[in-house]
Symmetry: C2
Subunit: 178 residues, 2 copies
DNA sequence: GCAGAATACTTAGAAAATCGAACAAAAAAA
DNA sequence: TTTTTTTGTTCGATTTTCTAAGTATTCTGC
């Protein structure tokens, strides 16, 4: 047995495993595949988003995102709007229906997370927050190299938005373009 | 803006995102798909494992695991051995080649994680460990219900093994059955 | 013991994710 | 203006993943 830091890794692994299982389970109850649902959640958090950003956020290719958005659009959960300022761009937007699916699919894990944290003493909450931020800083550091593989897939695109939750941001103030 | 616990969620999201991106990137450089590589890593950590356990660990169906193991076996990275004690069981074992692939695919993120933790003061390491364990305890709690969906997929099968790392456990002591 | 139930895995068929390469349109750079 | 870059999409191929339906094997209760 090595040094105690491996305990951190074990816990982290379990956390990730639980969130992954949760993601699958959630998507299911929403009647969507994990990837499709992930896009919906992303839109819920970030508001209207262009495919290239979705691709970067999810570590997928644009081709894949196109296919996923097609699926969602065919079910009227999202819609595409051409950006009139830059006509190359397409905004992927949550439709009211999409927002409803998102809103009526409660994330029990996230719920539990908040409730669990809330029950702790204030100092303990702070301790956990700073620990997680510390881990993030350690883990999510831009790595510039990778000699072995041709891959620009940023190992960690650190540009997560400030707001999140399951709450859907209002995206009704957008270019009413058709 | 709500209470500060959402900061924990943000950090957690970033951590998960980074690890996911890392998983994809890693598998690639190993010339495998994420799922295939995940099985290899699982075997590296846990040693020989039966398909049903792999399925539970990865939140997949057995059928899927069968398909994945087929792929890995066809490339001689793993091999199946019938368990002579219980002939229904099949042990999925890492071959020397599989172990090599695993060993020669350094996990830079995990590396960074350890190095980063190591650089901290002892009390800080302890703080992070207990924070992660706390989060795990909160998050990875067995949920018994789910009215909406027919799904026994344990939202969190809390049975992660003690050892892990990229180190491969020796799996040479197994039923030399063909 | 043995019939029936439970367990462990595989097969088969279908839906979908996912990628790379090639393409088109628009914007930016030269 | 011409060239290059950015942004998305289409196409074709591979892989994942699931459900349903088997096949063994083991376990259970009588």
């Amino acid at each position: 047995m090595q040094n105690k830091t491996h305990l951190a890794l074990i816990a982290l692994r379990q956390i990730i495993k639980a969130t992954e299982a949760n993601a699958r389970s959630l998507s299911r109850s929403a009647g969507l595949t994990p990837s499709q649902f992930a896009i919906l959640r992303l839109l819920g958090r970030n508001g209207d988003t262009i495919p290239s950003v979705i691709a970067r956020e999810m570590s997928l290719t644009q081709a894949t995102v196109t296919a996923l958005v097609d699926k969602l659009a065919s079910r009227a959960l999202v819609e595409r709007r051409r950006d009139m300022a830059d006509k190359r761009r397409v905004l992927v937007c949550l439709t009211p229906l999409g927002g409803e699916v998102l809103g009526t699919t409660p994330d029990s894990l996230q719920e539990r997370f908040f409730v669990g944290l809330m029950k702790l003493q204030d100092w303990e909450q702070s301790s956990i927050i700073s620990a997680l931020e510390r881990v993030r800083d350690i883990i999510a550091t831009e790595v510039r190299d990778v000699v072995t593989t041709p891959m620009r897939e940023t190992v960690s695109g650190m540009d997560v938005p400030p707001m999140l939750d399951m709450g859907l941001s209002d995206h009704s103030h957008l270019a009413p373009e058709e």
